[in-house]
Symmetry: C4
Subunit: 327 residues, 4 copies
């Protein structure tokens, strides 16, 4: 008895914390409560850093912090405990281990760990606050449309590494160049290549604070060349991303077409009538109705043509003399 109740409970917890399909008013409340708590925590951290506010309301801040820690800890434990329901036939601990090593779980851990560490080793308050801001990352779980962007960025990893590499080379070269030509005029600012790097970064990223600028004609000429290179450099990520997003979309379309073709071959779908089926596949892949429609129509057209051909070859016998006709 108790046992089944136990399983019931675990399953209930699982649905409310892990299962996205499962949507009840209660589960929605929990999600919203957690989201608001996260935002509240971030706001609290921001306000605490303002001394006069902190000194006046310290008491309430601490209470809120402690309550948050408790809630987040409980959340973590419950997630850890209930995740087993995900694949009931695997050994519970294997599933749990997979979960613990997943990105979301690590973020959850980072969100509560500093507070516990702080009990043993004292952490600089300023730094501790920053760490608490990691709780902001817990929101990523509730933010779906982030996935595509991240996948694209992850897929174009190689290109971005190349960009970083180019950037590094250009920063070092630019810093060294400006150091050679400017250090005599502004010994305090361009005192060494590492010092000049600050200017190089600020310039190549087209941020241009203006706290450090070349003043000699030759320095300005070199600076002009570097700024122009900077524009080109700043253009690389945009180009890569635009291209990456386009490819991502194309890949999804392929995926969709592929799935449809398989289903059609196995006669598991009627491309014209099974709207809800098509809708589901569409959502799985993550395309807009318009983009799907195109593929569907394409398939319908193909099917029509096939039918026509079959029509054409229907007459296997001469309707006059009844002899078999060569196809």
């Amino acid at each position: 008895m108790a046992f089944t109740a136990w399983f019931k409970l675990r399953n209930f917890v699982y649905n409310n914390l892990h299962n996205d399909e499962y949507e009840t008013p209660f589960s929605r409340c929990i999600n919203w409560f957690l989201i608001l708590l996260i935002i509240g925590n971030v706001v609290a951290v921001l306000l605490e850093s303002v001394n006069q506010i902190y000194s006046t309301y310290q008491f309430y801040f601490d209470i809120f912090e402690n309550i948050s820690i408790v809630i987040f800890s409980v959340e973590y434990v419950l997630r850890f405990w209930s995740v087993v329901e995900k694949s009931p036939f695997d050994s519970g601990w294997k599933v749990r281990w997979q979960y613990v090593t997943s990105g979301a779980a690590i973020i959850d851990l980072l969100a509560i760990l500093p507070a516990y560490v702080n009990f043993f080793v004292h952490i600089d308050l300023r730094f501790l606050r920053t760490l608490r801001l990691l709780r902001l990352l817990k929101l990523t779980r509730y933010f779906v449309s982030l996935q595509i962007l991240l996948r694209v960025i992850e897929r174009e990893k190689g290109s971005f590494q190349a960009v970083i590499f180019i950037l590094m080379i250009m920063i070092v070269m630019a810093a060294a160049g400006i150091y050679v030509v400017e250090s005599r005029a502004q010994l305090d600012v361009f005192s060494s290549i590492p010092a000049s790097m600050w200017w190089a970064v600020v310039t190549l990223t087209t941020v241009g604070y203006g706290d450090v600028t070349p003043i000699t004609p030759i320095g300005r000429f070199l600076g002009a060349l570097i700024t122009i290179l900077g524009v080109g450099l700043a253009a690389l990520p945009a180009g890569i991303l635009a291209n990456g997003l386009a490819n991502e979309l194309e890949l999804r379309k392929q995926q969709l077409e592929l799935k449809f073709r398989d289903l059609l071959e196995n006669c598991e779908i009627d491309i014209i009538d099974d709207e809800e089926k098509i809708e589901n596949i569409r959502k799985d892949v993550g395309l807009s109705t318009e983009q799907t429609q195109d593929i569907v129509l394409q398939l319908i057209r193909e099917r029509k043509e096939k039918q026509l051909e079959r029509e054409k070859n229907k007459y296997c016998f001469c309707p006059h003399c009844g002899h078999k006709l060569p196809e």
Copy 2:
């Protein structure tokens, strides 16, 4: 009699204010007059904010403002009254309600409302002026090529939300980080995380005013990392837009091809001769002639091939009795 005159009048007003197809010299005059009046209002607001100008010409400014209010109010009322003509068979008030809740109507209302509100509650003059600038939005009605851009942006909403979310996280993190490392050196500038956010925003958007910059080596190192991230971040919208515009175009092409195919199947169009029909469809969808031409040629080619095939199978006699076979 009077009644029909009444309807005539309403229809006349409708054509001149709402109907884009209807183009007479008079309607064109009205449009241009309204456009100039809007621009005039904006210019007036800008000049009024210059004190010496305002103090000298206050009288004329006020007159102009009052006249404008009257005209815009009349415009609004007339639009509201005549919009019924749009769909004569629905109940008048339903149509009117739809109109009132449409974007354009809301903008029109916002353009005149503040002036009326000002009668009852006194609004700060500076703020009132800004509100009057909302009249500028009335121009969007006359600006067609804005539509595509807005639709793309609206379609890529999800991606942009993700970008905003990433931006928010990075701003908070960057502000917290710089606060930790710089607040000791520049307590007045990076006095708290909220205060440091100003620097974070200015840096991540690569604006870089330079009014607030890190000065400690560690702070500059962190700043450099953040600026580099800023370049990547600033690249996201460009990439998303480039991709969005490309998809928008592709979708329109699909649309066009689809329409053509339907018309062809129902033999309602002759793809070779009906230039004006093709032209109209093209304009509806909003593609350039060159982009359309491609699709048209494609369809022509297909048709030719079909004809050839029919040719091939036309002379199809039974090899025994020589009777014609049904295709």
Copy 3:
């Protein structure tokens, strides 16, 4: 006699100044001489603006300027005179008028006009110099790869207008907003909306000089929002251009395929052997060999398939009994 010589001369001039196909060492010399002269003029203008240089070498500068004027004038006259050769069968003056109203000719005129105008009405020296820089535009004639970019920009005109319109609205709104919230704190800087526009432009374009920045918390909050909008705004042109360039390329590919298909249908080209013909068409359209190759292979494949089909249908008679076989 003299007459034919006259025509010969005009034709000779035409070939050297107008005809791009015509390439002799002499015509190349002329082009290079003109290019160098233009660059020389620009350099001269830049140096003249440095007072100490100008005062010392004024004499030489003036001589160089006068010589340049003469040469450019002669160039203009000769172009004007010889352009008739372009279409020998039209009336000379019609052709000349077309030429005079063409962009290149207008640039040429602008390059020499100010100097002549200066004889009659005295122009401020500083301004006159700037006008002389218009000679730089004469280089566009010799710069081919500029064409595609300009065509794309011209084709996306509509989108760019929309961007400018959005920019205008945002500048006015941003300026008004910052004026409302900041003018009390920095009355000298944000004294009026027009004055605040400088900050709005500098911010929305992410240039961020930092000579004018909000200092009040509310002002900085508004400023942060505007900078973020600025990033999105700065992304629009990049997205539009990326999309425009892609379409331009696609249109060229269509064009190429179209030309090939026509030639193939009229059997005027052998897609496999006529390399030089293909090469010429490719250059006309302006595609890279790789991009062309793709289309060529496509066509070859199609042709092969057609041949195979013909193969299949070759046997019109039964090789055993000699009866005609149904196709």
Copy 4:
């Protein structure tokens, strides 16, 4: 005996230094050692430029530098000597000459040359250090993902030249314009057109240091126009790159499809089973598995259709005598 040993040695050196396929723990060690040495050199140069560090550790810096020179020299000589193995049947010196004139070899030479030159002619220390940073370029050899980006940039050379040309014209025009309107107000800053160019570059690249800004209303108006143009200009490279990357990808896909088709026609590959073969081709071309999959499926589909057709035409007997007809 000695001779074969000699060849063995040379081949061994070749494999470890030149041959990328050849991967033994030893060759990997060598590569990593060289990479670390390069990075170490760069770090050394950066630190040396900090005077107090240099003065204290000068001795160790010099030793490290000398050792590096020796190692890099030996590397260069060994590469030069062993490259012959690349194509054993050509004359050794021809191969060597090709190698010496290759980009990688030139970079290697530039990395060591300055140190030797320094023996004869004394080079300014600051400048010498910068030259030593060229060793950073030696890393490009080990950085594969850089290739695509560079090829794209190289392929879009024309467009980038056009951008540079536009940029040049705009810089000159902007500088001249601002010089005309601002030089009276800020004679020290905008003293001449060349001097004003610094502002023009900083503005058109949207860097905006703010060390030089227009202050007069007319100057600020002109400045605003130029900044807006700057945004458009900064957008050009991004657009070109996005387009270039897309084309590069498309070309690779063509290449892949082409290779597959050839192999299929010569029956050298089984599109369904030869996974490793497909994998190798994929890597050669440099596409992701997903992008390849699409093409493979396409080919499989085509093959299926062909088979079906063959099926259809297989039972092809003469309707008169029942003899099999040649297909």
